[in-house]
């Protein structure tokens, strides 16, 4: 009997996470990149003209998107070595399971980055996070699901092309616009102490994006892997 879709997906995700845990290179590199990016923004900032509370959501989400791209690059990049992808394709599992497994590993990877970047932004830009922190993490997770769904698909595509490093951001960034927009607007409302209900229209965009693109990317992924 073939194992169920989600069980197979988890096996694939665990494989990717095990590789990452044993080498630890990519995760640390992306973390340093993210914090470095947050610090670099400081030098492009006139604190007398723009309040930290207005700047921070933009910094957080732009840096998060870019570090997400870096980590997604590696998702299918690791399968190129020794033609590991062929072995993965030979395995008697659904292509959808490969996608969901890869996406799950990427989600955990990206969530790990968020756990460091959100407090870093709060610390370096002196933000009054406090009680809003759990809500902010919840929104970040919703945003990350959409980002990872689209990014995992494009990573599989870009890995097989010339220009892979250039193509992934070029294809992904237009798709990240609704995510950056929804997440940054919600964040700035939270930071301004406005009621969560006001941010609901933006969160609806995020949730709808997750549903539409998680479904669409899972369904179109098998076409990417055809031989």
């Amino acid at each position: 009997m073939r194992p169920s879709l989600l069980v197979t997906a988890w096996v694939i995700a665990r494989k990717d996470l095990a590789i990452e845990f044993r080498t630890r290179t990519a995760f640390l590199a992306v973390l340093v990149f993210a914090v470095l990016g947050i610090a670099t923004f400081y030098f492009a900032w006139d604190a007398t003209a723009v309040a930290a509370i207005d700047l921070a959501p933009g910094v957080l989400w732009v840096i998060f998107t870019f570090s997400g791209l870096l980590s997604l690059q590696r998702s299918f990049g690791v399968e190129l070595a020794d033609r590991a992808m062929d072995a993965l394709l030979l395995a008697p599992i659904d292509r959808e399971a490969i996608f969901l497994g890869k996406a799950l590993a990427n989600l955990l990877f990206v969530a790990g980055i968020l756990v460091v970047t959100v407090p870093s932004v709060a610390l370096l830009y002196n933000l009054p996070l406090g009680r809003t922190l759990p809500i902010l993490f919840a929104i970040a997770l919703i945003a990350a699901i959409g980002l990872v769904a689209v990014g995992t698909l494009f990573s599989a595509m870009a890995a097989n092309t010339r220009l892979a490093e250039l193509l992934l951001p070029m294809l992904s960034l237009p798709f990240f616009v609704p995510i950056v927009y929804g997440a940054a607007q919600t964040t700035s409302m939270l930071l301004a102490g406005r009621p969560l209900g006001e941010a609901w229209p933006f969160m609806k965009i995020l949730i709808a994006f997750d549903l539409v693109f998680l479904t669409a990317c899972t369904l179109t992924f098998p076409y990417i892997l055809e031989e």
């Binding site: 092309t161 294809l171 616009v177 669409a216 179109t220 055809e226």
Partner: protein, 247 residues
């Protein structure tokens, strides 16, 4: 997998190559489109009254709107052909999507250059993040990305599948971008967005507009057709090269 335009014994006797060689250099549809375009310009510039409030700047409208409609037409073909390709695996659908994508980029570029030229004297700014402007800009980015992707994949079947997937996903993305900007603007209204309502135009202007619309649509179709024919010849030549290498 994909059906080939050429029979297996494709060689010097390939019907596609023979067709290309005997085809007249003059493309009649393209010729008609260019004549129509010139006529539409002449009418818009010399034989259409100047608008009372906006002055000569309003004449950009005759190029801008038909170009946008032609771009939408071409992009619609890309999205439709992407679905058709994944469904039927017919390489003609892929070639039509490729041709329409390139032509769409040309028309979108025309829209994005004529728009600011009009916006500066009328709105007082080259650019504003209005829903329609933003959407057009991102359509341009998506189309450019689509074409760069096509150029970065060597295998024909893989290129067709990848670009079809992008074509479908981009069509799904458009409502989200539109919704994002729409929400943004309702929450933060900007007075500059007052887009002049289309006035009940005098008949002469309406005729000029429709003339331009037809000329633009003709040019769009003629360009797609020419680009498609080029694609057929290019693929036939490539298949011939491959056949020779195989021998």
């Amino acid at each position: 997998m994909t059906s080939r335009a050429l029979p297996d014994d494709a060689g010097a006797a390939s019907p596609v190559i023979a067709d290309v060689e005997t085809r007249p250099l003059f493309d009649w549809l393209f010729g008609v489109a260019v004549v129509a375009m010139v006529a539409a310009y002449v009418r818009a510039v010399f034989f259409t009254p100047v608008e009372a409030l906006q002055g000569a700047a309003q004449k950009i409208y005759y190029v801008h709107v038909p170009a946008a409609l032609s771009a939408y037409l071409a992009l619609g073909i890309v999205a439709l052909m992407s679905i058709v390709y994944l469904w039927l695996r017919d390489e003609r659908a892929d070639r039509l999507a490729e041709s329409s994508g390139e032509v769409a980029l040309v028309f979108l570029t025309a829209v994005l250059t004529t728009g600011p030229l009009w916006g500066k004297p009328i709105w007082g700014t080259w650019w504003t993040w209005d829903a329609r402007l933003t959407l057009t800009l991102f359509l341009w980015f998506l189309t450019a990305g689509y074409l760069v992707l096509r150029g970065a994949v060597d295998d024909a079947g893989m290129r067709a599948r990848y670009s079809a997937v992008i074509g479908i996903l981009a069509a799904l993305l458009i409502p989200f971008i539109h919704l994002s900007v729409y929400l943004f603007n309702t929450l933060h209204p900007k007075p500059i967005l007052l887009k002049p309502d289309k006035p009940s135009m005098p008949n002469e202007m309406v005729v000029t507009f429709f003339g331009f619309f037809i000329a633009c649509a003709l040019l769009c179709v003629a360009l797609i057709r020419a680009r498609y024919r080029y694609g057929v010849a290019r693929d036939a030549l490539r298949a011939m090269d491959l056949a020779e290498e195989g021998e």
